[in-house]
Symmetry: D2
Amino acid sequence: MIHTFKPSRYYNTIGWHEPALLIHDGDTVITSCVCAAGMDEHEKTITQRPNPMSGPFYIEGAQPGDTLAVTFDRITPNRPFGWTRNVLAQNVVDPDYVHRLPDRSAGVGRWQADVAAGTATLVSPETKLGTLSLPLNPMVGCFGVAPALGQAISTATSAEHGGNMDYNGFVAGVTVYFAVNAPGALFHLGDVHAVQGDGEISGTGIEISSEIQFTVRVLKDTHNIWPRGENVDYIFTCGNARPLDQALQHATTEMSRWLMADYGLDGVAVGLLMGQAVKYEIGNVFDPAYTVVCKMPKKILAQFTH
Amino acid sequence: MIHTFKPSRYYNTIGWHEPALLIHDGDTVITSCVCAAGMDEHEKTITQRPNPMSGPFYIEGAQPGDTLAVTFDRITPNRPFGWTRNVLAQNVVDPDYVHRLPDRSAGVGRWQADVAAGTATLVSPETKLGTLSLPLNPMVGCFGVAPALGQAISTATSAEHGGNMDYNGFVAGVTVYFAVNAPGALFHLGDVHAVQGDGEISGTGIEISSEIQFTVRVLKDTHNIWPRGENVDYIFTCGNARPLDQALQHATTEMSRWLMADYGLDGVAVGLLMGQAVKYEIGNVFDPAYTVVCKMPKKILAQFTH
Amino acid sequence: MIHTFKPSRYYNTIGWHEPALLIHDGDTVITSCVCAAGMDEHEKTITQRPNPMSGPFYIEGAQPGDTLAVTFDRITPNRPFGWTRNVLAQNVVDPDYVHRLPDRSAGVGRWQADVAAGTATLVSPETKLGTLSLPLNPMVGCFGVAPALGQAISTATSAEHGGNMDYNGFVAGVTVYFAVNAPGALFHLGDVHAVQGDGEISGTGIEISSEIQFTVRVLKDTHNIWPRGENVDYIFTCGNARPLDQALQHATTEMSRWLMADYGLDGVAVGLLMGQAVKYEIGNVFDPAYTVVCKMPKKILAQFTH
Amino acid sequence: MIHTFKPSRYYNTIGWHEPALLIHDGDTVITSCVCAAGMDEHEKTITQRPNPMSGPFYIEGAQPGDTLAVTFDRITPNRPFGWTRNVLAQNVVDPDYVHRLPDRSAGVGRWQADVAAGTATLVSPETKLGTLSLPLNPMVGCFGVAPALGQAISTATSAEHGGNMDYNGFVAGVTVYFAVNAPGALFHLGDVHAVQGDGEISGTGIEISSEIQFTVRVLKDTHNIWPRGENVDYIFTCGNARPLDQALQHATTEMSRWLMADYGLDGVAVGLLMGQAVKYEIGNVFDPAYTVVCKMPKKILAQFTH
């Protein structure tokens, strides 16, 4: 079943909030998300920062101990205006370089997103970059399920439940798997970026409001701790923590668990395989918790699975 | 001029050692490197761990304050036998997962490198991976110039002078730039991996002896602190430190300096560009210092440079 | 006014929960806290882990932007039985030492707390330590105010709002200052330790149920971000984060802000003073966020304040 | 035997340098050290930064595998003038607070050390601190033995061999134990601070030239990896690394090894004891490697050792 849902309120935490819509295993939802600053498709500020969430969506039958699979079918900016901060974050440069950075309050960059052309073009400020044009790559910055213990966690950060991971690989075609903590899972999403470099190192991507179509499934037989995902070429795991070292430990451990449980590898096979074939990517290094993604090529897995 | 050089001794530090060969700006050297365990092309152990270095090569005219550019023209394994450790390193998994790892002393993996076929194939131990075959991607794990202050630094680690960075992007066709600290720069190299996943997370790549051809140039007008490099598609910078956060800060700062000095960008242009277009890769996360690489696509730089 | 309050329910998060008791500026509360495992003064498990909180206490007149001052007047274990985990945590030792640790599930240590004698004595297991006796030092492990944005944060961790800091300096006689986020501040407390080494490195102190007497004040003119405190000899600040480096940055920055705002120092005076006179202590290094305390001796401050 | 030794040259690395003086097990040396900036007792700059080392002292009979014990008998400033940087280091405050720091190049603080009075008094610059007077606490900032593998490591940093640990507990009366790597151990020392807060957070203590008397012993039966030490009240271990978390892991692991090898404790006894009785202190958090000290009270150890 396909639901079309227009949010009437937004949340700045991911938590055990009143469900906005009840859906079922296999259902598809088309909804809209405001940008990180709470501006809608008309550039009107209708809610507050940080990263307002659409939802939560209550998935009938999802129980603690289950896994919720969310497939992003389509992520489409629904206005041309995107904005960025225009200075590197202080925490991504050497401490003795911080005073070389321009004043962080010096305004925002304006970008023009053209969905048909598949580009995002710099409009202002005026710099040597001119009208720099980048390939559009709409991604969901912040999404996840209600965390354990009845917690409500700010959408500025991330943890086992997902949250503000800002990984530019969370694009249409990707499926993400979350461990369910609350009855109904309570899925939240928002904070779309039209384009974003690795790390979200200026503190934003090109922030934009969007229409998102996603499809949910409830899985009864997986036991992940950290978010897992897959796209056409890779399976992957996400670790969220500081420092990056710990985020990488979480992602690596989750991949090891996955390969042992679902691909029949023992610890030595995991060491031999991951040691030679693993790829890492960096989600955000701006927010309180950083994100590291650990990827394994499906083509390599296919050599020993049938 | 092309020099063919066969090392008669090896070093386990990168330091102000007696030059092994004097060469000039523009010269090319063809030399051999033993594997990380000191085994040569006949699988004979001729020197000791860790990561024995060929060289140092004294480049006439290279002075402190200059930059040494080294281009890897060719990296060719010169024996079929490569070896790996076969268990994930304890420091790349969650602390409470360490006791799940197999015993680290449980032997090594044997791999067959086939240069003609472009593959590395698992020979032993026997696991569900069978005769897993991976694309050959010969890379130089450890190389660099004599560090500042007359230091001699173990080839187990890395710093501003280079060292054991274990980045699987250090392949043939890449040029790397080092700030020169000692007269003649004193370039060392070794520790080739036939294949290696990101992070060198089992503590090795497929360790192999090799023949390497490289070409040097002395540059008088660049002022990098951390190693820089370029390949066909990217310019990139390397940061070496723990935690990964600091390695990333070094690489990010070096890229900002580079873009401002050589591409005419101001701080706002740097923030706008890097924020949306930067890519990060992870060198090793096994050794005392970790490595992060910050990359910028040349295709994007071409939009505003002429 | 003095309130005696017996909790009828407990919370495993610090959040915007229904107030348990309304009190006023200047009031004193005598209440009881179960131990970290939810056991009361009769060793009966009456609620669930982790770290059940008594409260929250709603302080009339406390508004976002104010500071809540809480003075611990008395912290008295109300049963003789205290328990500890008996193995070092995996994250406080070198990764390659983890496999040397005993099995973490190997039971708990039992200790006898004697309030009159001022000691805690090891009862079991039997080890070479025999009946090791340590000076009693009752401290509050976890306490704080409702966090910003309507968050509810697990009592296993800590942040700007306080939480599970496990600093063994939070003893009777100490006053702690929190920035207020929610109307009424919503103060929670619990998780008393009869004794605890720095860092809570075995994952517990000697966990015990207690009676606590505290007094609150609402301050209108301070602007701390991180918890501040004072005892007879020191003023101090707390930073909660991972890695420890960041916790230390938060505590150091908060102390600098305090010295500049309330002691009239400029940045150079702060650098001269803190550089030579600051003391650091380590709260827990076991939980998701670590704690560092930055202390300044009042005796030194007295030299230039009148 | 007591040697009086006046250095004729200084080193900016700790390495396998030509011995300056040969001494024997049990000998005492009285020597002088310039300050961190290379200024002698007449405030004359006679050598270069960073942290010039007196020595190395070759101890006859000390072999790799042995332990060198160094007792600081006396540390006496030999000029009244001490200097400090006067601004907090950028890496010890929050990244978004760095731009609030005064310009780091803004000159130095001048202090008057009075050995007879036991004080260090601020002379300039003029601030609200006035003539702040602090208790003299002369400590050795940088010292150690030649590192493994023939390395020569900058005196700006620290590692297993010791180095620039800047722990304000390295005062007269302390004995420090180092694992010997080179024949003769090759002991270096220098960089005395008249006073220093924890962490060396402005990047210096009160830097001063000094006379130091120390006594050496060669031990054949201890097997430490990281520096160990003891004073009247404590035994302690030092870990040097970044982040602080790793320095703490090293120190904690070394203490566990010590308690198990020399005090007969098993892993459970270590967990029970260290969990309740350990104290941590922070050496420098300014240099490339940070230092954490793990302490155990002798009075508690005395309860179960005879």
